[in-house]
């Protein structure tokens, strides 16, 4: 059993499960601000109740994000001690800043948003929803800054004891990789939030209940959805892809399955990478497209894996290739579905288009898959480096923690998170089936709402 593999799986599993929650937190955070804003401007009680309903779902989701997030900050030290030792002076900063700048903000105003509606004014309550949104998006920013430095280390200096330090704070915080990734990632969170809201709306309409709410949710979900699904491809995905191609040629070659350097490289739509023969089996290719997407001309040369030393290839090559293709394929589906939905909404036919409602309902898991696949693309593409070009993954894990100790706690997390997943599903199912007009459960059930 390889310790390196166990520690990688440990982090990968816990971060993947964790990120199921923050993406909805960040996406819904924005949409709840939209609901509260309409409620405040129009004085329409229904929009207030809609915001309260999504607030309840947000609250459940937020708690799961918090409790699965705490282990992440610890795992840098527990499972990646050698990496932490060397990089603490750099990436310890955004991780500490996340706590200092965003978690305090977010937790304070979320407490106010959830518990304080009767103690503060309507404007103050609206303001607290804005602050929750700002807090969650700031939090995302600091995490992306951390990842961006590992992907594209800049503004650093290496000290005699091997540790890194930041030479320019602002260059480090405004790492171009980070800004592009942030734009792409946050749009991805809005895609998730929009699809979830639209799916609940579609469910209510198809189930012929709470139809007024269903229409509000569909309207907000589809408007948010059509904007975010376009933005996630153009410009954010496009620019991010171009930047990766220029800075991590091995990653882009592996993502696209480009074994040989070509001028006029194509994009493989379907096909399986074969590591032994170093080609794509049964490919369907659009000629010249990759060269055009990266360099804006169909004849440009794109570096293939043949130009890259074998020990610098991302080792999980097919996994990386599939993750990227799943993300891109789903992204295409999202924009198609949302454009159709938005058109029907504009023509006033969406609420009666049963097929589209069904498609919206059934599509809600897909953004979760696409966001996960996108992160897998980013992190597998960085391999075999932990800090790109500077530190290999094999040099970073805690070598005092044996493989079987790591496996023990990984299995522990898997068991615990299975339980959390079940609980989450039951709780969200209940909130949705009770509907926006239901009395809240438990503590507030005795409270004449």
């Amino acid at each position: 059993m390889s310790s390196e593999l166990i520690h990688r799986l440990h982090f990968a599993f816990t971060i993947t499960f964790h990120y199921l929650f923050p993406q909805l937190t960040m996406g819904l955070g924005l949409l709840i601000v939209a609901l509260k804003t309409v409620a405040l401007r129009t004085n329409d009680q229904q929009w207030d109740r809609a915001a309260r309903f999504w607030g309840r779902i947000f609250a459940i989701n937020f708690v799961f994000g918090v409790v699965t997030g705490i282990p992440m900050e610890f795992e840098f030290g527990t499972n990646w001690a050698r990496f932490s030792m060397i990089s603490g002076g750099v990436i310890g900063q955004p991780l500490a800043m996340e706590g200092v700048f965003s978690f305090f903000l977010e937790s304070a105003f979320l407490g106010l948003f959830l518990y304080g509606e009767k103690r503060i004014s309507r404007t103050m309550h609206w303001f607290s929803s804005v602050m929750v949104f700002v807090g969650s998006w700031l939090s995302g920013f600091f995490i992306i800054v951390t990842d961006a430095w590992m992907q594209h280390p800049i503004a650093y200096n290496r000290l005699p004891n091997g540790q890194f330090e930041v030479t320019s704070f602002w260059q480090f915080m405004l790492n171009p990789w980070g800004l592009l990734q942030y734009a792409h990632n946050m749009t991805g969170a809005v895609v998730t939030g929009s699809f979830v809201m639209a799916a609940v709306g579609a469910f209510y309409l198809l189930d012929k209940r709470d139809q007024n709410y269903g229409k509000i949710f569909l309207k907000v979900g589809v408007i948010g959805g059509v904007l975010s699904t376009i933005l996630i491809i153009f410009p954010t995905g496009d620019l991010h892809g171009k930047f990766v191609a220029r800075n991590q040629p091995a990653a882009i070659a592996a993502m696209e399955g480009l074994f040989k350097t070509e001028s006029g490289a194509g994009v493989v739509l379907i096909g399986q990478p074969n590591e032994e023969t170093q080609q794509i089996d049964n490919p369907i290719v659009v000629n010249d497209l990759l060269s055009f997407l990266i360099y804006g001309t169909t004849k440009a040369e794109v570096t293939g894996l043949d130009r890259i030393p074998r020990d610098q290839w991302p080792e999980a090559l097919p996994l990386l290739y599939y993750a990227y293709h799943i993300m891109a394929g789903l992204g295409t589906w999202f924009v198609a579905l949302m454009l159709v939905s938005a058109f029907l909404l504009w023509r006033g036919k969406l609420y009666r288009s049963r097929w589209v409602l069904w498609a919206l309902l059934l599509s809600f898991p897909l953004p979760y898959i696409a966001n996960t696949a996108g992160w897998m693309t980013a992190e597998l593409g960085r391999q075999p480096w932990l800090i790109y070009g500077l530190m290999r993954t094999s040099e970073g894990y805690s070598n005092t923690v044996s493989a079987s100790n790591g496996l023990f706690t990984l299995l522990g997390f898997m068991g615990l998170y299975t339980l959390l997943g079940l609980l989450f599903t039951v709780l969200i199912y209940r909130e949705i089936s009770d509907g926006p007009d239901a009395k809240a459960h438990g503590a507030a059930a005795h409270n004449a709402d």
Binding site: F74, G89, E98, F103, V166, T400, L423, H441, G442
Partner: protein, 346 residues
């Protein structure tokens, strides 16, 4: 700069213990003090809007430690691997059980969640106390700065101790009693009626336990790590810290007798502050002593980040914490007074 960051990290730890401490203490008391469903909802409502923010001090403190003392963070977190993972699982269970109780209205499940919440809170206080005692006692550091500790060995604090030995168990009991007392005082502020009366009644026995265990732990520390007193003898003025411990305990007793719960709670906060400050000062400038010989100690100068890094950090840390403290004050002032069971919108 090193001296400064040592105390900034210490301040964050104190912030965590004082703030999350009372909601952990409320968790310990939850099963014993609150009998009816209404009372249990009151104890939970008393911490509902603030517990998550309190826990942020742990994350912000951990992040600050990571940034300012990377070697200490890397060494301690990987060395205390197993107990830290247990702490993480307990934090997960505690947060989930606390929040979900309000979303589930089946009595059996509520009882289960109450039990999980109480158990996780109790174990966490013991673990935190034991963790601090581990740091004071020292760990078997290797020359490269790393170590790995089993959960227990022969219960003796020798060269190769376990996480748990007689000394660290005392540390765990100090934390359990002190935070339970802290939580009881919080309830005397927040609860009303019979629950408040019960909380008031339990303060005296808890106070006696805390006072006794404080004395025991002090003696035990001097036995286990005699050099703990060096800083105090070199700078006799710092004996003010142990005097502060005694004074805050006395003040707690007097304010509680006088029926001034807020002042008693603040005295308890001061007690926690002096205890932690005393432990930090006993260690300084060592951050993590080695049982394998002082040459292996992780000291301040060995673990500290570069001066340039720390200078950058000081700017954002000061700005960020000024914001953070203003939110904390704002939220506590919004929710001041007796706990409001009907206030939850969810």
């Amino acid at each position: 700069m090193g001296f400064l960051w040592f105390w900034l990290v210490a301040v964050m730890i104190v912030g965590y213990v004082v703030l999350d401490g009372f909601d952990l203490g409320v968790g310990v008391l939850h099963l014993f003090l609150a009998k009816t469903d209404a009372e249990r909802r009151t104890t939970l409502a008393s911490i509902g809007p603030v517990w998550d923010g309190n826990e942020v001090w742990l994350l912000a403190g951990g992040g600050t430690l990571y940034f300012a003392f990377p070697l200490l963070y890397a060494s301690a977190f990987s060395g205390f691997y197993l107990p830290l993972m247990i702490v993480l699982w307990l934090l997960v269970l505690r947060g989930i059980s606390l929040e979900l109780r309000a979303h589930i209205d089946v009595a059996v499940w509520q009882t289960l969640l109450d039990g999980v919440f109480g158990m996780a809170s109790t174990l966490l206080t013991i673990f935190f106390g034991a963790a601090l005692a581990n740091v004071v006692r020292g760990v078997p550091l290797q020359p490269d700065g790393y170590f790995f500790l089993p959960l227990w060995t022969n219960w003796q604090p020798g060269v190769h101790p376990g996480i748990l030995d007689w000394y660290t168990v005392i540390g765990g009991l100090v934390a359990l009693s002190a935070l339970t007392l802290h939580g009881a005082l919080w309830l005397t502020i927040k609860a009303s009626g019979e629950l408040e009366a019960r909380a008031r009644k339990i303060v005296t026995p808890l106070w006696l336990a805390v006072a006794a265990l404080t004395v025991v732990s002090l003696i035990a520390t001097i036995v286990v790590r005699p050099v703990s007193l060096n800083n105090y003898f070199n700078y006799p003025v710092t004996f003010a810290v142990p005097v502060g411990v005694v004074a805050s305990l006395a003040a707690l007793w007097l304010f509680n007798r006088a029926g001034q719960p807020v002042k008693a709670f603040l005295s308890s906060s001061l007690y926690l502050f002096f205890m932690l400050a005393g432990a930090c000062w006993a260690l300084y400038p060592t951050l993590l002593p080695a049982t394998t010989g002082a040459a292996n100690d992780i000291t301040l100068s060995r673990a500290i980040s570069s001066p340039h890094t720390l200078a950058i950090g000081l700017v954002w840390w000061t700005i960020g914490m000024a914001f953070a403290i203003s939110y904390v004050v704002f939220v506590y002032s919004c929710f001041k007074g007796k706990a409001d069971v009907g206030g939850a919108a969810h």
